[in-house]
């Protein structure tokens, strides 16, 4: 009885809503995750060659970075609206818009990561007989991973949040629920979908952080070594002071 009335009272938090509409929530979440995943993966696949081009040819760097930055300035509602005549009302509109946004963050971070690889490391690998392809994938890319995943995390989190705007063409995942909840003044639907959306972003961020740690075990070893050195220095300093 008490649980039933929260739907009728239109409460913000309503367990009854989650129970009775669980299928709707799952469908929206699956659509949300799908759109985000496709967008980020496509963004990465496009950004990587773009970053390589921008690094290889200095003259290309300006236009590539400039164009992606200009795209980033266009508000999302306008971006989706501009893409509808091209793709019709479909999920492709949302995915394309999100890919275009993720490019700015991804290209810049991949470029910064590749440029942070020390020249000596490159020389050493070349001296060991590494060709350009093996140098890129075997040496430079692993060393660029921290910067790359930092960009990937930002891009993923903002893509999760931005997918909701896709509701304007009916492909917004959880955004669809938010928008239908707004039209029906249904508070529980809006709040539940919003919270799920934030949760998705946090989960994606934590997963990517875990992936980065898994792929770059040496950075942790370095951090440990650094903190050990610091501790020892401090201990030595104390000992010197004690002697004095």
């Amino acid at each position: 009885m008490g649980a039933q009335s929260c739907l009728e009272a239109n409460d913000w938090i309503c367990g009854e809503y989650v129970r009775t509409r669980s299928q709707e929530l799952i469908d929206a979440t699956v659509q949300h995750v799908g759109i985000t995943l496709v967008s980020v993966v496509l963004g990465l696949l496009i950004a990587f060659p773009l970053a390589l081009v921008a690094r290889r040819w200095r003259t290309a760097a300006g236009p590539v970075l400039g164009l992606t930055t200009i795209l980033y300035t266009v508000p999302s509602l306008a971006m989706f609206a501009l893409l509808t005549p091209v793709f019709g009302v479909s999920a492709a509109v949302v995915v394309t818009g999100l890919v275009l946004y993720s490019l700015t963050l991804l290209v810049r971070n991949i470029l910064a990561g590749l440029e942070s690889v020390p020249q000596e490391v490159r020389e050493a690998a070349r001296g060991m007989g590494y060709g350009p392809v093996r140098l890129l994938f075997g040496v430079e890319l692993p060393l660029a991973l921290p910067a790359l995943t930092a960009g990937l995390r930002i891009a993923t989190v903002s893509t999760v949040a931005m997918t909701t705007i896709g509701a304007v063409v009916g492909y917004g995942g959880l955004g669809n629920l938010i928008s239908s909840g707004m039209e029906g003044f249904f508070k529980a639907e809006v709040l539940t979908a919003s919270v799920l959306c934030v949760l998705l972003a946090v989960i994606a961020d934590v997963l990517l952080l875990g992936l980065q740690r898994l792929l770059t075990p040496w950075t942790r070893a370095q951090a440990r070594a650094r903190s050990r050195a610091r501790r020892e220095r401090r201990a030595a300093g104390r000992a010197k002071k004690a002697v004095a």
């Binding site: 200009i70 980033y72 300035t73 266009v74 508000p75 999302s76 509602l77 306008a78 971006m79 609206a81 501009l82 509808t84 005549p85 946004y101 700015t104 963050l105 810049r108 971070n109 470029l111 910064a112 440029e115 930092a150 960009g151 930002i154 989190v157 903002s158 999760v160 949040a161 931005m162 909701t164 705007i165 509701a167 304007v168 063409v169 955004g175 938010i178 928008s179 909840g181 707004m182 003044f185 508070k187 809006v190 709040l191 979908a193 919003s194 959306c197 934030v198 972003a201 946090v202 961020d205």
Partner: protein, 251 residues
């Protein structure tokens, strides 16, 4: 192709520009809301960030706040505020949501800028007997200026973009032209509205870049430094500040 010529026709029709639902009125709403919210956000974020940066505390908060901001969907916040008791209070849900999203980039960039002011210079100024407020206004603030302005730029662009979304939640602004177009399946109107919004966003970005250059307190000094630096250094510097630029989220 039809959509583009249709959008051109829509824009060329003077009837679409006049009246309560016309472009001029929507543009006015959009600019008014954006400017008001940017001003409020600056009044909230900058004093806090400058003070925290000056005393060197609250760094984790200042940096994390913008990461959290990115994970929260703007649309959801707008709708939640509209459905809350505030929803009956006219433009307030929109204003609060816009301020909420403009504060993080301002706060983070201003704080980082203050902290990254050359410590040697700050120590030297302190050694010359400058008081706390003098140090803040005459040394740290000019040194932090580029990053503060970067924050202002991302906040400004974000406010303009978010004001577009207000239309989804029933607010005013240029986004209304797009949502109205979607509502009655008028694709030319959708495209025309999108072009207007995109042009406004680009204009605002360009205007803020110009303001940034015009008011740089160390314009001459920085110009000389930039010229004398090697290309490699400049590139490294660029990527470092871009990371902070990217601290804003999208709407």
């Amino acid at each position: 192709m039809d959509a583009i010529t249709g959008a051109w026709d829509w824009l060329a029709t003077s009837a679409n520009w006049a009246g309560e639902k016309g472009v001029w009125h929507r543009l006015g709403e959009h600019v008014y809301l954006s400017a008001l919210c940017l001003a409020i956000s600056c009044l909230i974020a900058l004093p806090v960030a400058l003070y925290l940066g000056h005393i060197g505390k609250g760094g984790a908060l200042a940096v994390n706040i913008s990461n959290v901001g990115r994970a929260v969907p703007t649309f959801a916040v707008l709708v939640l505020l509209t459905l809350s008791p505030l929803g009956t209070a006219g433009d307030w849900p929109t204003i609060i949501a816009l301020v909420l999203f403009a504060v993080p980039p301002l706060l983070t960039n201003a704080y980082v800028g203050m902290r990254e002011a050359d410590r040697d210079v700050v120590e030297a100024a302190r050694g010359m007997g400058m008081s706390g407020p003098q140090l803040l206004l005459r040394v740290e603030l000019p040194l932090a200026y580029p990053l503060i302005m970067t924050g202002l730029r991302s906040a400004g662009v974000q406010v303009v973009a978010t004001a577009t979304l207000a239309a989804l939640a029933g607010g005013g602004g240029l986004g209304r032209i797009i949502t109205a177009g979607f509502g009655n399946y008028n694709t030319p109107q959708v495209v025309a509205g999108a072009v207007l919004v995109a042009v406004l966003a680009l204009l605002v970005e360009g205007l803020l870049v110009l303001t940034d250059r015009a008011f740089d307190p160390m314009r001459r000094g920085r110009g000389r430094a930039r010229r004398s630096r090697t290309a490699g250094d400049a590139a490294a510097d660029g990527s470092a500040s871009d990371d902070v630029t990217a601290a804003g989220s999208r709407a």
